[in-house]
Symmetry: C2
Subunit: 295 residues, 2 copies
């Protein structure tokens, strides 16, 4: 295993522990809801957002023992959005991470409440442990996550996505959607990781630019994977976007040009890191990791 | 108009202003989502939770200009829960505050996202303005609201409620459900209002006891109203609980005993206030207001 792969595995396992710690145990009432919350979050996903938070925290010199709580908060927002997105009123998907989605395994009402309660838990965690150099900065972190999740962030991107089904979008509109839908939370992951230590504005600016590139690259790669991979490899239903007549980078650009775009965004992300004073090796490796999935 | 009614009206109108200020304008993208968020929140309800926050803030000597932001945060959590509760997967209700519910007026996917985004906005507000004597206390407020909203608070109560349909509950189980479903957020309203100024533990303890009594009284009265009022008076579909075979205080106790219980809870709430050093006139009046709706 490469040194980077070992680092990823270590972060992922730390993440699993901290998520398992924060999620209420399934034997505490309401048991059914708590069981469903754990089902939705644990043992799944590559934890890309937490990895970004850990890597950005390293640049800022933050204690990983603090960063992991911020990372857990972001991951819970991501997990809740998947549960709600999979529901019949939205994408109506039956498979996620190779398992039945929450509304299939449990029921729709439970899936709705699982998402709602996971969002609350994210803010409970972000406010509940001393994470930042001071409480004022930690309040800023709460606000940053709230805005990344809200109507001008992830939930807003979801609304733009819904409104775009079956309607031709140009590249600028597609990018606008993804900057909200995926980009906002990716950006929050990076910035929250960095805020766990004192960090200057120049570093934050460079990280912000990096995060924007990586967020878009992530989506471009997802579109390529959705177009090319099988359901078994993907762990979720493949080819859904084309079937739903949803605009994607592949439908607008074709696979070869989408792959080129992912490479360009990786180069931009690397360039943003070059401006950083501290070593940003992990962030560079993560940019490579995100983009190389498409090849 | 009584002096108390004038105070209520003043608070309600201040609340409307601050909510209208925080909700993104309907002309900003995603317009459809922002329009639906404003539809869900503005021009509706008695704003009982904000009234409690203002009244508790007065006891602690808090600046109402601060309290109104905390009150707005609680009201947004309440508003989001109504939007999600009304959805077909939950209570499947078509009418709320005399208007079509959000999923009827817009659609289900929009209702889902409206609820999600309103919850995020609540935490954005609670972290975004200086509200408390210091940032550490304000972080505690964020955590308090997150826990009141989450799986061991409101969302958990909702899950217990769902699991109870068609199943006989005894009085203790019914109370356990309502302490979560309604009580947690009522308690948060009172405590968040008080936390906007320096407040000692004895005062918080008294307010906490008051809030628990008022939260239960509120639910008992709601059950009486649901059993007795017409849909027109109520502004939402009446008699739903009986139709859904849901256990209520009325189904367990009958209307006369439920009314007596509401009176006893009012007396307990008043008794809790007697221990307070500062004048708690507004909280006393609110206890009367909540209970007298049932008569």
């Amino acid at each position: 295993m490469s040194e980077f792969a070992a680092w990823m595995q270590d972060c992922q396992s730390r993440m699993e522990d901290v998520l398992a710690h924060w999620l209420p145990p399934a034997h505490i009432a309401p048991q059914h809801l708590h069981e469903a919350m754990r089902y939705a979050v644990l043992d799944g996903g590559k934890r890309v957002r937490p990895l970004l938070a850990f890597a950005a925290g390293e640049v800022a010199g933050a204690d990983p023992a603090r960063v992991r709580h911020a990372a857990a908060a972001v991951e819970l927002i991501h997990a809740y959005s998947l549960v709600h997105d999979d529901m019949p009123a939205m994408d109506d998907d039956a498979l996620r991470r190779g398992k039945p989605t929450v509304h299939v395994e449990f029921d729709e009402a439970t899936a709705l409440l699982v998402g709602d309660a996971l969002q609350s838990l994210a803010f409970d965690i972000l406010a509940g442990e001393p994470l930042a150099p001071d409480a004022g900065i930690q309040l800023d972190m709460v606000r940053l996550l709230a805005q990344a999740a809200g109507s001008r962030g992830m939930a807003g991107g979801q609304a733009i996505d819904l409104a775009s089904v079956g309607r031709p979008l140009d590249l600028a509109e597609l990018e606008f959607m993804h900057i909200h839908k995926t980009g906002a939370l990716i950006r929050a992951s990076v910035l929250l990781g960095a805020h766990c230590a004192p960090v200057d504005d120049a570093t934050l600016g460079a990280l912000d630019h990096y995060a924007k590139c990586i967020g878009l690259a992530f989506q471009v790669v997802d579109d390529v994977l959705d177009a090319e991979a099988s359901t078994a490899t993907l762990g979720k239903t493949a080819g859904k976007d084309a079937a739903n007549n949803k605009p994607t980078y592949v439908s607008l650009l074709g696979v070869p040009r989408a792959r080129e775009l992912a490479q360009e965004l990786r180069a931009d992300a690397h360039a943003a890191l070059a401006a950083l004073p501290a070593c940003a090796r992990r962030l560079r490796q993560l940019a490579d990791f995100v983009v190389e999935r498409a090849f």
